[in-house]
Subunit: 250 residues, 2 copies
């Protein structure tokens, strides 16, 4: 089921009926190659994109041509649902890896809104989850230093992938480059590399290529000042993501 990862293991869950309703509203699926731009900033849009497989990013292009990530998306994320009320985007949407997406026309979403107010509020919830993550990114950039920022990002990805069953709580695949991590954390690729080495030497976390292995989650969480409350996870998942509950493979 294409929508099986939407709002999975969150404080707000979709019922099976709602999942069905949503599934019926989608108009098609598409694939994109890594690096492709999926939605461009500016012009009016009349569809929204649900990520099924792979990783996507949202980024603003700086005037000097450098791009900066403002969000990273995992399967089950409704990447540009905010375009439904906003009608145009203030940033680009791209594929970080090869991706499979499902397309919803805004017309079909409008029909949904009439028929199922509760489901609509769940979708609203989804867009606000993005906003909550944005806030945490702001906090991360404004108050944490390099190693704390990278640790925080790794904890976040672990938690989000855990929620959709793509992390076992300590090991997961994160097929993005060190330069990408730099853009997320406001660091240069060179410094990201040094930080990852430091995390490796501290026996907290191994990042090799696209493989992330968290060796000591509770210590990593502590170093990152990571509190998963902002992800609105179901309590059991939140506890695991925070490294409380013996799930840490030490």
């Amino acid at each position: 089921m294409l929508t099986s990862k939407v709002l999975r293991n969150r404080t707000t869950e979709l019922s099976d009926a709602e999942r069905d309703t949503l599934e019926c509203a989608l108009s098609q699926t598409r694939t994109f190659a890594a690096g492709q731009l999926v939605v461009r900033q500016g012009p009016p849009v009349d569809v929204s994109t649900l990520l099924i497989e792979g990783l996507m990013s949202r980024h603003v292009d700086a005037p000097d041509g450098r791009r900066h990530l403002v969000a990273v998306h995992v399967p089950g994320d409704f990447v540009d649902l905010h375009a439904f009320p906003l009608k145009r985007l203030d940033h680009d949407v791209g594929a970080l890896t090869p991706v499979k997406v499902a397309i919803f026309t805004h017309a079909s979403l409008e029909r949904l809104q009439k028929d199922d107010a509760t489901l609509m509020r769940r979708l609203w919830f989804l867009t606000l989850l993005d906003a909550a993550m944005h806030r945490q990114w702001i906090y991360r950039l404004a108050s944490l230093n390099a190693i704390e920022r990278v640790s925080h990002f790794l904890c976040e990805m672990n938690a989000r992938l855990l929620a959709i069953g793509s992390s076992d709580g300590s090991e997961f695949s994160l097929p993005i480059t060190q330069a990408d991590i730099g853009q997320v954390c406001g660091l240069t690729n060179v410094h990201v590399n040094r930080v990852l080495r430091e995390l490796r030497e501290a026996e907290l976390c191994h990042v090799r290529g696209s493989r992330v292995r968290i060796l000591n989650l509770s210590e990593l969480v502590k170093k990152a000042y990571f509190d998963p409350a902002y992800l609105y996870l179901a309590p059991s998942i939140a506890a695991r993501a925070a490294g409380r509950s013996g799930e840490t493979h030490d």
Copy 2:
């Protein structure tokens, strides 16, 4: 009219009828002193707060006790409307100055949602406007240096105050401390002070106490890489906020 500044001068406007409907749904108004906490992170909430007068902030408290701003709100902002779908907040909400607010119970908003789907989508739009600002704050922190960040923040506040008629396009009141600006821009109060001096010496912008006087908007906009697209302003206001249209008092 208490809701007269809500969605004023944006790409999406409220009709007079919608403004009436909204006005009828509000349950009471309250005032808070500067520095007071209005909503606390964590516990379930069943009301949302519309800012009528004054400035408010949203902030996360770092474990070391320091607080970091993730949003600054001006009159007409629905400060914690996101609590309506989310049901609890992942951050605190406080008054930066003495404020007057209007309270909406979530029960009354639910009634609204049933009766007026269009108005509801406008409110959804409002929460996404916050998210768009969050994204720009991320960009600001990750890619701009100190003077660019402060300039960008001043351009943003000018634009937002312009939209609600509280800036004439070059001069406005911003009753917050240099330390507050530091928390917004991820800088120390000391460095904010130096940056403001630099802006003064460059004849770009005078900030004295709570008075901000922009001397050369188009140059300030350029230095800050400021593009007001993310504020979804009505075209004429956007042009003025971007310093294009002879509104610059040089």
